[in-house]
């Protein structure tokens, strides 16, 4: 590449001189640009040459795109290109009609997010009202929540949790990125009643079931 051509990436990017590094950067850029969904480092690693330093490449790429119209962001446990937040006003044409969720549905979503894994009975206890089946259905339809397993208690109720799509939608890197999570935890508000301290829940959207969850049966499609 001659000196006259534009330099690929910004000034303080490491290893700019290395052709291999540049090649790898191009590859990461191409793969991430092509996907509309976040890709994990592991997924990227699978598709890059074995020698590629994925973390380092991502760091460089993020820096190269910082301040640009499109940014490389860490979201939902992976990496994705997203338009810069300050340019949202330009993109109203691309904006999707926000899903109209009832207040009940949004509240239920928040409870599932912060208290997961959580059963319907627990949601109802928190809201102080019974949950119509439609609320959970609507949330399942958004793809933001999922059935996780079954609580190992009488009746073996289904437990709910959030999905990676939820993280992507709300621009969260991971579930412990939820706004105000630490304060809520500190205030003991994520603990069951009564007695407080009976369980110390930290929301977990991981696939591993918790100690008191069983896997869903084959026939669970509630």
């Amino acid at each position: 590449m001659s000196e006259d051509e534009p330099r690929l990436f910004g000034g303080n990017v490491t290893n700019l001189s290395s052709k291999e590094w540049r090649d790898h950067l191009r590859m990461v850029e191409a793969i991430l640009f092509a996907s509309s969904e976040p890709l994990s480092e592991a997924t990227l690693a699978e598709r890059l040459p074995r020698a590629a330093d994925v973390s380092g490449l991502l760091r460089d790429l993020r820096q190269a795109y910082a301040g640009r119209g499109v940014n490389l962001v860490e979201v939902a446990g992976g990496w994705a290109f997203r338009t810069a937040e300050d340019l949202a006003f330009l993109l109203t044409r691309e904006a999707v009609e926000p899903r109209k969720l009832s207040r009940a549905a949004l509240e239920t979503l928040a409870i599932i997010a912060y208290h997961q894994p959580v059963t319907r009975a627990e949601i109802e206890e928190i809201r102080g009202v019974s949950t119509s089946k439609g609320t959970i259905d609507v949330l399942l339809e958004t793809g933001w929540i999922r059935l996780r397993g079954r609580r190992r208690t009488p009746g073996r109720p289904v437990t709910y949790g959030t999905t990676p799509t939820f993280l992507d939608q709300f621009n969260l890197q991971a579930i412990d990125d939820l706004p105000g999570l630490d304060e809520l935890k500190g205030a003991g508000l994520l603990e069951g009643t009564p007695p407080p301290g009976f369980r110390v829940p930290v929301p977990s959207d991981g696939d591993e079931l918790s100690d008191d969850e069983d896997p869903l049966g084959e026939d669970d499609d509630e």
Binding site: T83, A95, L106, L109, R127, L189
Partner: protein, 268 residues
């Protein structure tokens, strides 16, 4: 209890106690999602931090609200009445000092639990707001509008283990073995078998006896009938030839009668 499903995110118009009509409760529970929601609205009207609300006052307000609703014959869902009963109980517990040896929670504990639940509900409402205020995908930030799909070259990897292979082979050869064994078990009465059976009886058949009656015990299985009869008949012919049995048949397909040859001393 319905949740006013289909409401947009905008909170429904709800009963509020304003300072202007502090004493004139505007009774309308349509906007509320259950008693806890109503309590939270009442608590907010105390205009103090939820941690410092007077649960006793709150209970009072709630009960007054319910009383008013009843007076104007407003239909109340059972939940509201259950909560009213519970709050009345709570009030009584708050007034009465805790008796000794009482396992029931104290009024203070009940009040604390109610306050906790109200705080938690409020916190979750705030969390829902915080969530929706985040820069959401498709609104504040956009993904690539024309993602270039990853072409998938499908490739099937067939799976089978050596165990699969051997058990498939073995079980099918096993069928072959079972088939053969079954054929051996299907009794083909050999002449020897028939002769031995007849010999056991010879000497005891004094009168003409139908041959199939003799063989009754061997004819329990209908599938064996033919072979038994055929072999027995052959064997009986042999015994006749040896002068140990007599056979008689009155006509074609008529029953065959057999008896020990008279005057025979049983010696060959």
């Amino acid at each position: 209890m319905s949740e006013a499903e289909g409401d947009s995110f905008e909170a429904p118009v709800r009963a509020e106690r304003t300072d202007a009509d502090a004493d004139a409760l505007h009774v309308d529970i349509r906007g509320f999602e259950g008693p806890l929601d109503l309590l939270l609205a009442l608590a907010r009207s105390q205009k103090v931090d939820l941690t410092r609300i007077s649960v006793s006052d709150l209970a009072e307000q709630y009960l007054a609200f319910i009383e008013e609703a009843r007076r104007i014959r407003l239909e109340l869902a059972a939940d509201y009445l259950v909560m009213a009963a519970w709050l009345a109980y709570l009030k009584s517990r708050l007034l009465v000092p805790k008796p000794e040896n009482d396992d029931e929670p104290t009024g203070e504990e009940l009040a604390a639990e109610l306050a906790f639940r109200l705080k938690r509900l409020e916190a979750m409402r705030k969390a829902a707001e915080d969530l929706t205020a985040r820069p959401q995908l498709g609104r504040a930030v956009m993904a690539r509008g024309a993602p270039e799909p990853i072409g998938v070259k499908r490739q099937t990897r067939w799976q089978a283990t050596i165990y699969d292979l051997l058990s498939a082979y073995a079980s099918q050869r096993q069928r072959e073995m079972v088939t053969v064994v079954r054929m051996r078990r299907r009794v083909v009465w050999s002449l020897t078998d028939a002769r031995q059976a007849l010999e056991r009886m010879v000497g005891r058949i004094v009168d003409w006896t139908p041959i199939d009656q003799l063989l009754l015990r061997y004819l329990s299985d209908p599938s064996e009938r033919t072979t038994v009869l055929a072999s027995t008949f052959s064997a009986s012919l042999e015994l006749v030839r040896e002068g140990r049995l007599e056979l008689r048949q009155t006509g074609a397909f008529a029953p065959i009668y057999v008896r020990t040859k008279s005057g025979d001393d049983g010696q060959e």
